[in-house]
Symmetry: C2
Subunit: 310 residues, 2 copies
């Protein structure tokens, strides 16, 4: 491993990681959407804080049907597109294919696993700041670290696995810092601790994180939402201790005025990742008897906002 690698969804995140894997000598196949014509003519360019990359020709496809079956499929679509994933994965998977989901939110790996197309399913949480400057032209501004863990149907901690290790080493050889998590579900809820309060409140109130933190009412609300996330994780047997919540508050206090991805989506009237970040965790907790009423309030308000963009 790896032989052929597919990048399903070559937006800023997919194109950035794909270009790094290409740079390290891998055989990478990119599925593009609107950028396909430009990339076919001019290739792919990434302006990165860790070194620029430019590829005049890449294996670029406008349809998953035209792509080869791959050994590793990296899914980097937004979670709002998950209803399309079955059609995008079927052509590039066989029973030996490893699928790695690089996406925000909860339960995406379960969705992919339950499609039953391939072999092992991994999840990755990206800590990276990338955006698209133009067709086939990506800026990588900060970080790049991925936390990788393996998904298993029983959703219990998996520990370290060989598949996880192979994918981790592949990224490390491409210069991407990797953390291995023995418990993907715990790591997903850990990331939700930040995402559930700050993505939604910043988007709803059109305010950067520093303003949410500076106002006592929204600061208290952010903490109360985190406590609901903590309770949700506990219902799944995952402990996120109070010290972790406090550390996230402290960390957020140190951020420069920051616009979370959902706030950027709201500003640009793009579909927000509401199901992955709110709907899935809220429903998962509710099935286990844990209510998240503050998160649910925010979720419903954001649903209204999201519908008003259409």
């Amino acid at each position: 491993m790896p032989g052929k690698i597919a990048i399903i969804g070559s937006g800023a995140i997919g194109a950035f990681y794909g270009a790094r894997l290409l740079q390290a000598g891998n055989d990478v196949h990119f599925l593009f959407h609107s950028d396909i014509d430009h990339v076919r003519r001019h290739g792919l360019r990434v302006d990165s804080v860790d070194g620029d990359m430019s590829y005049p020709t890449v294996n670029a496809y406008d349809s998953a049907e035209k792509m080869p079956v791959c050994d590793l499929v990296i899914v980097a679509t937004k979670s709002t597109q998950n209803h399309l994933l079955a059609d995008l994965l079927r052509p590039v998977c066989n029973e030996n294919t490893t699928v790695l989901l690089l996406q925000n939110g909860l339960n995406g790996e379960r969705l992919i696993h339950d499609m039953g197309f391939g072999g092992p399913v991994l999840g990755g949480l990206c800590f990276v700041c990338c955006n698209k400057l133009g067709p086939g032209h990506i800026a990588h501004l900060e970080n790049g670290r991925i936390i990788i863990g393996q998904y298993r149907k029983d959703e219990q901690p998996v520990g370290r696995t060989e598949v996880q290790e192979n994918v981790a080493v592949m990224f490390e050889k491409a210069g991407i810092p990797i953390d291995r998590t023995p418990d993907l579900i715990l790591s997903r809820w850990h990331k939700l601790l930040w995402n559930m309060p700050f993505n939604g409140l910043c988007a709803l109130l059109n305010a950067t994180t520093d303003r949410i933190m500076a106002n006592q009412a929204t600061r208290d609300l952010a903490y109360a939402i985190m406590q609901e996330t903590q309770a949700g994780a506990r219902a799944l047997g995952r402990d996120l201790p109070d010290a972790t919540l406090d550390a996230i508050m402290e960390f957020t206090d140190t951020l420069a005025p920051y616009k979370p991805s959902m706030m950027l989506d709201a500003i640009n009237k793009r579909d927000m990742e509401l199901e992955g970040i709110y709907g899935e965790p809220i429903r998962t907790a509710k099935e286990l008897g844990v209510e998240m009423p503050r998160s649910e309030t925010l979720y419903r308000e954001l649903q209204f906002l999201n519908a008003s963009y259409k």
Copy 2:
């Protein structure tokens, strides 16, 4: 009763009811704020669906200190000004003075009672659409009905009282339809059933009631907030049955696109009545062990919005 009547806060509501009482031959004394110079020179004018009124000279004051002690004091300030009430009421009250509070929200009568300036305290819930067209110039567009009840320190149902009846008859003689409530606290919570979901959601989301009702997410949220209000009322021994909640949903479905007062405040970047409509009911319920987490979420988001206007 009545002899002298004071109107404390001659905005749209205070000026409208004061003008009707004046028209019926009462001795009315108006406390004005910014409109005082204009009213002294040009008087008071009300364009009303029930008959226009124009008074070239009225008893207009720029300070409560200059006003006579009155038999009935009608307080029609916004609840955001309640911190000023002690100084406004002291000069116009003696132990025989009846105070009638015409205001949105909860616990205003308790505040006035606890000041200890006067005699009986009444509360009134206004169902009226008035707005100010210019200095000393009010438009009365719809309705005018008041639900009047007497406040008692133990906050138990009071039944019908002589003071309540006298004030009710005085308004009726002035052409104002009056309902007598035997339980002011129940009536206040009944009005909160509508105010808590719709004032806040419309203000927060900058959307008229029809849009909140048409979106399934906010429609469900509005109902869930009503259920919290119902639970708060029950903690006080007041039953607002499910049929009442359903009737309010049905009623709201029949409204033309409507902007609640708090939404108008938000649009005009004026102070919203957050304490009376959210803070007081939420704290009252919490003291009795009932949480209102959805209402509290909305309250905190609105506090952020309100602070951003300053």
